[in-house]
Amino acid sequence: MDGIHDLGGMSGFGPVEIERNEPMFHEPWEARAFALNTLGIRLIGAYNVHEYRHAVERIDPAGYLAAPYYERWFTAVATLLVEKGVVTRAELEARAGGGFPLARPAADVRPIRVTPSAQPRFAKGDAVRVRDIHPAGHTRVPRYVRGRRGVVVRASRAFEFPDLAGHALPAHLEHTYHVEFDARELWSDAAERGGTVIVDLWESYLEAGR
């Protein structure tokens, strides 16, 4: 989905401040929220990490930017546990004594049959172009590289295809590539001098370049 989470390249944000001696968790509830996700994935087995990421992406855009990190984290966990029927929203609202925001529903993504290539289709040094795709559901191809040309700097390992795994659909293993883009290819005249960006992309996001 072309969601609010896909922030790369957006303008309008302010400075980034580093907090000295930042603790791992700022509030006790953050630590509990962190651990509840482990419970949901590993112990209850209600969902996988790709579905978790997608549930964060499905949070209302205004709420996404306003909420602290672990609040987004928690809203995704609660959303998935409600969607999977482990708990109900009504019981959560009753126990919390107030409204209980959840993420918006996922798009209706259908299983696709993919015959993954046994051997990587691209090699180090190959020119590639990112396909200009706009999947309705979960995907890991950032908007700022779609349609852009780059060069493979590492033919990496094969990992589960997130666009399917993010919807609990059977996901094949697919080769991934670290693709380097010149800053000018991405940002044109607005690019800083002497910079590149390397993005980690699944094979089906790419086509041969040039």
Partner: protein, 199 residues
């Protein structure tokens, strides 16, 4: 589960977390001590001091440095830091002419076993939005002013590979022990938004 209909005011986040925990407990889904143990385990294992030790070893031992650059996960595991969500760890070496820096524009993926859970600034929309577009200006604002002749390579953690920066060893640290060297390597240097300073 749409949010479209008007609802009563949101319960505070701490109440919502407690409510979910209680609801799961009432169904017998939370084994005694599970959540506490998970938090303790995170605090013990996801620590940037792990990455600092890896860096210090690489500065002192050229053979280890070569192994680290060839296979980051295996070399970190040699020191006892086994990947949690960083099954494939690629270590990026900073040099006089190339500076590497890491981001995750779509969420906040990090190599937990060596960098730790990501700090707030790494997770902020500002960092995620700006680094891929204006790294030099952003880093300058964060206190790292890189000379024009140094090329900046920004690594977006958009897949399952995890990254860690191998920063340059600062001058003035000749003869230092591994422990003392590890003591000056910060989380910020492992991500690439700071240099290591000899103090």
């Amino acid at each position: 589960m749409s949010d479209s209909r008007r609802r009563e005011p949101e319960a505070p986040i701490a109440e919502r977390v407690r409510a979910l925990e209680d609801a799961l407990e009432a169904k017998g889904l939370v084994p005694e001590g599970f959540l506490e143990k998970r938090v303790e385990q995170a605090q013990e294992n996801f620590d940037p001091r792990n990455g600092a030790r890896v860096v210090a070893r690489a500065w002192l031992d050229p053979a280890y440095r070569a192994r680290l650059l060839a296979d980051g996960a295996a070399a970190s595991a040699e020191l006892g830091f086994r990947a949690a969500n960083s099954e494939f760890l690629v270590v990026l070496e900073n040099t006089d002419s190339v500076h590497n820096v890491i981001v995750c524009t779509q969420c906040s993926c990090t190599a937990w076993s060596v960098i730790g859970l990501p700090p707030d600034w790494y997770k902020s929309p500002a960092y995620r939005a700006r680094l891929v577009r204006e790294p030099r200006a952003l880093l300058r604002g964060m206190g790292l002013d890189l000379p024009e002749e140094v090329a900046i390579r920004v690594w977006d953690t958009s897949g399952e590979t995890r990254f860690m920066v191998l920063p340059q060893r600062p001058a003035g640290t000749e003869g230092w022990s591994e422990e003392r060297l590890a003591g000056i390597v910060t989380r910020e240097a492992l991500i690439g938004v700071a240099r290591v300073a000899a103090s």
